[in-house]
Amino acid sequence: MRHKTFLWFFLPTGLAMLLFIALPIVSVVTQSIFAPHQAVLIEVENCTPLVGCTTETTIDQEATAQLRAEKPLGRFVGLGIYFDRGHLAVTEMKELWTTTDSIGAFLSEMGNLPFYRAMAFTLTFVAVVTPLTIVLGLIIALAINSLHRHLKGLMIFFSLLPMIVTPLIGSLILFWMVDSRGVIGSALVALAGDPDFSLKASTGLMWVALMVYGVWHAAPFAFVVFYAGLQTLPGDQLEAAQIDGATRWQQVKYVVVPHLMPLVTFVALIQLMDNFKVFEPIVGFNAAAHAQSLSSFIYNDLGGETRQLSSASATSVITIIGVAILLSPVLVRTWRDFKGAR
């Protein structure tokens, strides 16, 4: 296809992405290095006869408004916002490094810094949910594949539900059940034998609940992909393995899993991207007090009375860099595929 024709075909979608994805990124980066103007203060000296003179500091409304109008972006602070306490907290980290005597103490102190807490939760979520999703998906696929033909279609229908449902809605449905007054919640209370046992009160339990939701939501996707892979399983290889006396477990391990391996990579990649975005369950579970992800951290900055655009922008930029790092192995692989395909 010639360059010019390509350009015309690609123009509408390219323009949409340029204007509403690429430019906002530029705008986010810009906002992250500017902070809102501080109010201009002036000192006014009040002299009253007999009492004497007092100086008073007041906000010069006019000058402040003028300054804001002149430089709407705010004042340039460079990387200041990135390094402040709400983000990378460089000073606090240095201080911690010198004052704490063990790595454990250092890490636990680090957990008090909001940004690192969000980062820790996001990475833990990615690291826990991705492998569990793959394993659960594989087991479901193997189990459903051995079902009777008529049951398969029905089971696929029900299996799709947790994935297709809107994430916020899915997390609400689960949350209402695990709420201490809900059906699972009250069962847990009965099991624990402690009437005050509550998900909302415990950070650890909240993390577990969020991850259970993550696996519940994502397992159907892994299942569907693996199930499709199982339909193309080489029958002759399985037969050969049987003739050689392989047990069922060995067949799965040496024939089925290697056959599905490219799919495992594919699912892992998609899950890595999607789990890194984790956001809605934190809103749905009302878990902001116990767990923040990078996305919900931005959401909190943007919502509420004061929109903290600079702070949200800085977190956004760090998140985008994180995405790029996470994806770098994939990019290399795609480049090789592309070279090979031509």
């Binding site: 509403f20 539900l161 569907v224 922008s313 480049w335």
Partner: protein, 293 residues
């Protein structure tokens, strides 16, 4: 799986069936429970005293004389005017799907037929865009949208969602078009068509399965969106999902969680129907990118 040797031993068959049953309960029970509970009063849905109340609806019986009540739905749809949000979601989804597919088909086709290096870089950029959480972009939208006075209205959200949808749409359609042999449009060009005519006369008639599948996923993306809608829409223009989130904030104090439960069930019904009719396409779409790779 007909051969005798392939047949599972009994113990494994039982274990496997039990596991399927377990997964079935895990996948379906929360929905069934919530649908059932949405016709009860709050004290039954969240029953502290006795969990069987949620099934029998004892309190509901005491209040309304029947173990089912539609007060949750009436409250959500009429009192809280949830129908407005439903309408907004309908408008947003319709336009997002139409516009995404139109411009995505053109772009995806171009990407699949061009062999220059820049197609690779465009696809990679799209992949990175796809991996970015949408909320990271919102901070970049707010100031300009306030400035141009377009914040809070549906068209803005539609355009933003179309753009956010594009990377995914491009990747999906790109792989669908790759599967349509390029000899097809090459031969049309030999017969004197230019590229666009070849696309219109030869490719469009055969592309529908791929476009329908991509359209389904575009629809889901628009329907399920929370971050963009919650941040870019004013209160009166909210779509369903941000509205449900807003319900929670306001209704919990009023003791009307049941409104939110009813709204949640209402918003799940279209998805149910979608899976019922398009199960094959959804499964096909999910595996399209995978089975080749």
């Amino acid at each position: 799986m007909a051969s005798r040797a392939q047949r599972m031993p009994k113990s494994l068959r039982i274990a496997s069936s039990l596991f399927v049953l377990f997964w079935f309960i895990l996948a379906a029970f929360p929905f069934a429970w919530t649908v059932w509970g949405s016709f009860k009063v709050e004290l039954d849905f969240f029953s502290i005293a006795d969990w069987t109340n949620a099934i029998t609806g004892e309190r509901t019986q005491a209040v309304y004389g029947s173990s089912f009540t539609d007060t949750g739905y009436a409250g959500a749809w009429i009192q809280e005017e949830f129908w407005r949000n439903v309408l907004n979601t309908g408008i947003v989804c319709f336009f997002v799907v139409t516009i995404s597919l139109t411009i995505g088909t053109l772009g995806g086709y171009a990407l699949s037929r061009s062999t220059y290096n820049y197609t690779f870089w465009l696809l990679i950029t799209a992949l990175i865009f796809r991996a970015m959480p949408p909320i990271t972009l919102v901070a970049g939208y707010l100031l300009p949208f306030f400035e141009w006075n377009v914040w809070g209205i549906l068209p803005t959200t539609i355009i933003v969602l179309v753009a956010i949808n594009q990377p995914f749409t491009l990747w999906m359609l790109h792989s669908f078009f790759k599967n349509i042999p390029s000899e097809l449009d090459e031969s049309a060009k030999v017969d004197g068509c230019n590229q666009f005519q070849a696309f219109r006369r030869v490719i469009i008639p055969v592309m529908w399965p791929g476009v329908i599948t991509t359209g389904l996923f575009s629809f889901l993306l628009a329907y399920n969106d929370f971050a963009v809608g919650a941040m870019l829409l004013s209160e009166s223009n909210r779509t369903m999902v941000p509205a449900i989130a807003a319900f929670l904030g306001t209704t919990q104090t009023e003791g009307n969680v049941m409104f939110a439960v009813a709204a949640v069930v209402s918003a799940t019904v279209p998805l149910f129907i979608l899976v019922m009719f398009f199960q094959r396409q959804i499964v096909g779409g999910l595996t399209a990118g995978a089975v080749k790779g």
